[in-house]
Symmetry: C2
DNA sequence: TTAGAACCGGACATGGCTGTCCACTTCCGC
DNA sequence: GCGGAAGTGGACAGCCATGTCCGGTTCTAA
């Protein structure tokens, strides 16, 4: 994966780099992209200096960590596309995506927003979009997916799952259920009521999260604390 | 609304208080709860000192601003409950909720997470939940809502809409479409396939949006902690 | 073995946010 | 009017985030 064309690193530096990436991967998955850099350094057992030497910005680290995540995503959609039963393939892709989103808090962010601007993540994302487009068309041709379904509806599905996963204590179960509902709605059937106009957004058109709320509120009593110059 | 039992305020102070609340309402709606306090003060045309004199913490301000939002929500659900056609009432409530979520970025946060701990928002939220439970049961009895639909699925709907609204450039259209899909899936019909197990969460069981960790997989090498070679 | 380049850790600079303090100003009862 | 309590604005403290710097350490090539 890491075919980084950079200058050869010293043996110990390579070790540390690997450790950093592993720590970052775990940290992002469990705590989201908000996890501080020094926390990642701590988990990796290196100093901040070392971390920033390898990855000049947080963005660079995110990019490295998620390049292969996106690649996995590409593979997943490709696999669904090769399923002889289009509808089953479609459902599998949607379900697997939902699972990935529910188990990794940062996945949706990386997949949908431009946290990194000039990156392999970005191109991978485009690949995903193209493949999803094919998947949709193929399933519609087979007659199992609503004719008015649009690729943008998959973005909708991703974001919906993300919203659920971000707040619920058991994201897996919740996302499974949401996905089951959505797949039911996506299937071609008797109901031919027109849908509201489709949203014309791709994965690149989304705005950054800012997950509002965040009034501090770590849970551990971080009350105002009266720390002024006492008087 | 503001039946604040505090001491009588001076005329100019009342003016400023009103201005602050109005500015906060607008700011929260458009920018989310992350908007800084001094930005709110600026918009209200007052100093920070004044703001903090009226509302000792940001939490208190949020509480004040959203008490009536939640009240509106209660009224909305009540209205749906009085619709002679249960299914139509149900759909109206879900749609209106989605609209509210899509037009006010902070609404979902206030509705679903405990940003404020001891507050009228909290009790209003419980009222909303009770009413939603009735709404669900009533619609099921009328035979138009799936028998295996659960009140928790409305929470799912709220969170899903929130996820979409947070990221998409035109939240209104996107939420409308998502809601149309979901309502289709919720309706009782020919499809009697079992759903995955329901999620047993209420509005109060949700975790804050940021930094709560533990997506159910923390054990993955969390703390190598090898801490420095000799030196 | 050894010299020096690469590497290391952690202190520090910077900036944004919440919340505090206080010297000054304004309203309002008498 | 006038005196004082209530009110005001903005400087400032403390915290936590990203990213920088540098004195000391360690790998490695010769």
């Amino acid at each position: 994966m890491n075919t980084d064309g950079g200058p050869r690193l010293r043996a110990d530096a390579i070790q540390n780099r690997v450790r950093i990436v592993a720590a970052a991967r775990a940290a992002f998955a469990s705590d989201g992209l908000d996890v501080p850099m020094n926390e990642i350094a701590r988990r990796a057992g290196v100093g901040q200096g070392t971390l920033y030497r390898r990855f000049p910005t947080k963005e660079a680290l995110i990019d490295e960590v998620f390049a292969d995540h996106v690649e996995n995503c590409v593979n997943m959609v490709s696999a669904g596309l090769r399923d002889p039963d289009p509808w089953r393939g479609f459902c599998t892709v949607i379900r697997k995506m939902a699972m990935a989103l529910s188990s990794d808090r940062s996945f949706a962010v990386v997949l949908t927003t431009r946290v990194t601007d000039e990156s392999s993540v970005r191109s991978g994302r485009r690949a995903v979009e193209t493949l999803l487009g094919e998947l949709v068309r193929r399933t519609q041709v087979a007659g199992r997916l609503r004719a008015d379904f649009e690729p943008g509806d998959i973005v909708l599905t991703i974001l919906a799952n993300d919203g659920v996963a971000a707040a619920v204590p058991d994201p897996r179960a919740a996302c499974e259920r949401l996905t089951a509902y959505l797949l039911r709605a996506f299937e071609a059937g008797i109901d031919t009521n027109a849908l509201p106009t489709a949203i014309a957004v791709g994965l690149d058109d989304l705005r950054p999260p800012t997950r509002s709320g965040a009034t501090g509120r770590d849970g551990a009593g971080s009350e105002p604390e009266r720390r002024g110059r006492g008087r």
